[in-house]
Subunit: 168 residues, 2 copies
């Protein structure tokens, strides 16, 4: 619960690698997300090579923290696993998996920043080309991952005006 | 982290009400989700009235557990807060908020089931009518909430074939 409440976007990172085994814990969390009809459309690409991280910054304007971050996780969707063509539930599935990774990272003392990829055409195309993704694989999100340079406190985010009981 | 790994869909509930203060904790978790450009498009409607829960089962075929569940939370998106018209980032925002609510509920000993609403037209229209939502409000998901009738164990969900390091 603390990890959910304390998580916030981190854009500055320590110059410190993330131990490889931690990535598998984050991805396990991602795979524990629910999905429509249990379709589990996700694939995950862990990126630690500096040239690839830099490569992303070439086509994604909001990803400049990847010049400093030690790693990124790209969440992709396998359209061959999409049980509901045209409905787009895979978007919701991949968003839930992305959020689980953010929470797990917070729990492990890591900081993250969720970078939108899909449906921005240039970002989808850039990521496809950089990672040589097959045609049935859609890059959905990119998550910057690393140890935060500073501890941030998100403050109170509860907003009573968004809460309704039994009627609008 | 345990809440992330142990969460699974619950479709049978005890005949036991959820204390009202717990809903506010779940909604706080929902509001801690990240959102595109910090747009926070979400509104939440907590439903505990039996007639409304039954009403949902009239237009949503997969929601029959609401005949037994003591409550539901409807996650809605306010299109007046959508900073990226036509892009649909609000879908990803609301999915992340929905997932946070599921995790917080697990942490509190509650069970949940995520029911897809958007973009199914009949479900969106049915929910709009039942809850008298204004036109700019889109019902995104419905979450059944209650105390689980039985403790379920989700088993291992890590799948190595979905993991890639630095390349496809």
């Amino acid at each position: 619960m603390d990890a959910v409440l304390q998580r916030c976007s981190v854009r500055e990172y320590m110059n410190k690698a993330v131990p490889e085994e931690l990535f598998y814990e984050l991805l396990e969390a991602g795979m524990c997300a629910p999905s429509a009809g249990n379709e589990r459309p996700w694939h995950f690409i862990v990126i630690t090579e500096r040239s690839l991280l830099e490569g992303i910054t070439g086509f994604h304007a909001h990803s400049q923290m990847l010049k400093q971050a030690p790693a990124a996780i790209i969440v992709c969707a396998d359209m061959n696993r999409d049980k509901y063509p045209g409905v787009g539930y895979w978007i919701q599935d991949c968003a839930a998996a992305t959020e689980n990774i953010l929470i797990a990272a917070q729990d492990k003392g890591l900081g993250t920043c969720w970078l939108g990829v899909y449906p921005r055409e240039n970002r989808v195309a850039g990521m496809r080309k950089l990672l040589k993704l097959p045609d049935h694989m859609i890059p959905f999100s990119a998550i910057a991952v690393g140890y935060p340079a500073a501890v941030k406190s998100p403050g109170i985010r509860y907003d009573e005006s968004r809460v309704h009981l039994n009627r609008w």
